[in-house]
Subunit: 295 residues, 2 copies
């Protein structure tokens, strides 16, 4: 299949490479020349703009940092909608706010293009291994059409509903994740301060009603889980600044929807505090360090 | 075994009945005469005070509403320590603050009694079915000694460490539970406001990093889980006022330990708000109703 891939950073780069490996013909674009060169080296063709990349494609996939980039890449003069041929399928895998996702999908629809939002979870490791989870907002027919293609980059391809619902699923899940991680950090920190062994406490939580991914798979207390970022100095994993971005999207979307997210907003502030103290590049489970008493 | 059981309310009553069923000889005391009569009707002997109940026993078990009751029942003039014979084993299954649990255990120890704190989870249903979880703070030898007896009232008997750690485990788990439930309520409410189907969103969360007991076993959104309290008008289950009690214990203990529990304290305030609005007797997952927009 002829695919245009736009946005070849830490996530888009390995995703595009997996499509090349699967035998697809890729035309690629990125504002960073080195990112383009890396894809050309494995067999992709470089294009001079999003518009030119899209012109040659049956499917356009984008993986961009934020909402303004998505608007510009799709709706700009040198953008996808200006270049794509009739019938081209559009897939945006960026994580952006649901309102922008719906606005761009509506603009695409007006011009006769079917567009899916398909943000991912699984991080750079999942992008490289082709084991990402895709949360897809698309009409049922479109979902069935894009599913096999996304399967070359991911393991779980989940249909969330119509346009924008992929973004809704991602920000709601990640807001809950951000809240639960602070909750686990507070519970572990309090328990240890009150004299219980952290592994014993985690074991009890993991078989009780406090059970959650942030405790049983990703515990923030060092040494509880040997393979968690907490046990290797909070390196690798899911960065605090990425969690902060998702909590920003969730709290912004909540404001627009007039929905109360007291805990979500508090979590956003706590990760902001952690980031402001210089830990933005550390794994988000480092939030437990914010709670630590200085000896 | 000759057991004194003190505190025969919604939890203590069925726990004591399970001990009678298991063949133990019970002497019982409660300030509410009807509670005593109910146990006498199944074969227990009534005592006129905690002191008198304890005098006849090899093991004393208490199940009381709060810390002041525990202090009074153990340390008062008509209390357990004043009546118990040398060598009597003491087990307090009340949920109280860890500091009081340690203070009473220390007072017992000074008088030559071994004492375990063994708060439970599982609610009145678990108490009746004999499927409670006991979180036990006790020296290892004492734990081994009380474990078979607790096994007549519960299914999981977990050793948490020395005196007080049973209480620590319980309040840390329940603080996390209270936080996670608000998080799930916010995520579900936000997602639905943004146009995703609640069952679809819960399904995605339950297989993603937001996965937790409050979502996959006890989801607060009506209709997502047919057997959860949310699907029967928030009746039954774990009352908001009981969650509020545990969050009060957790935040008080955090103050004493100078540990930061930003989310725990926020959760305490949110459940207080729900209770103040008249929903204290509803299941704690009714916290989602606090977030609902009035149509």
């Amino acid at each position: 299949m002829k695919i245009a891939f736009i946005g070849l950073g830490n996530m888009g780069g390995p995703m595009a490479r997996n499509l090349v490996k699967a035998g697809h013909t890729l035309t690629v674009f990125d504002v960073v020349k080195a990112n383009v060169d890396a894809l050309v080296a494995v067999g992709a063709t470089a294009a001079g703009s999003a518009k030119h990349a899209a012109a040659a494609a049956e499917v356009v996939i984008t993986m961009l940092p934020s909402s303004p980039h998505v608007k510009s890449v799709y709706l700009g003069d040198e953008g996808v909608l200006a270049g794509a041929a009739a019938g081209t399928t559009l897939i945006d895998s960026s994580t952006i706010d649901p309102a922008t996702a719906r606005e761009v999908a509506a603009a695409a629809s007006t011009r006769g293009f079917a567009m899916a939002d398909a943000p991912v979870s699984g991080g750079t490791g999942g992008a490289e291994a082709g084991t990402l989870t895709f949360m897809v907002g698309a009409e049922p027919q479109l979902f069935e059409r894009v599913k096999p293609l996304l399967g070359h980059m991911g393991k779980n391809i989940v249909h969330c509903g119509g346009a924008g619902t992929g973004q809704v699923a991602k920000i709601c899940n990640n807001m809950l994740l951000g809240i639960a991680m602070v909750g686990v950090a507070e519970a572990m920190n309090l328990g240890v301060a009150l004299g219980i062994d952290p592994k014993v406490l985690a074991g009890i939580i993991n078989t009780s009603s406090g059970r959650c991914w942030s405790s049983d798979t990703y515990n923030p207390y060092p040494g509880v889980l040997p393979n968690a970022p907490a046990s290797r100095g909070y390196t690798g994993g899911f960065g605090t600044d990425l969690m902060l971005k998702d909590l920003g999207l969730a709290t912004d979307a909540a404001k627009q929807a007039k929905a109360s997210v007291v805990m979500g907003a508090t979590a956003q502030q706590l990760y902001q505090l952690l980031s402001s103290q210089g830990a933005g590049a550390q794994d988000f489970s480092a939030i437990i360090n914010l709670l630590r008493k200085t000896p």
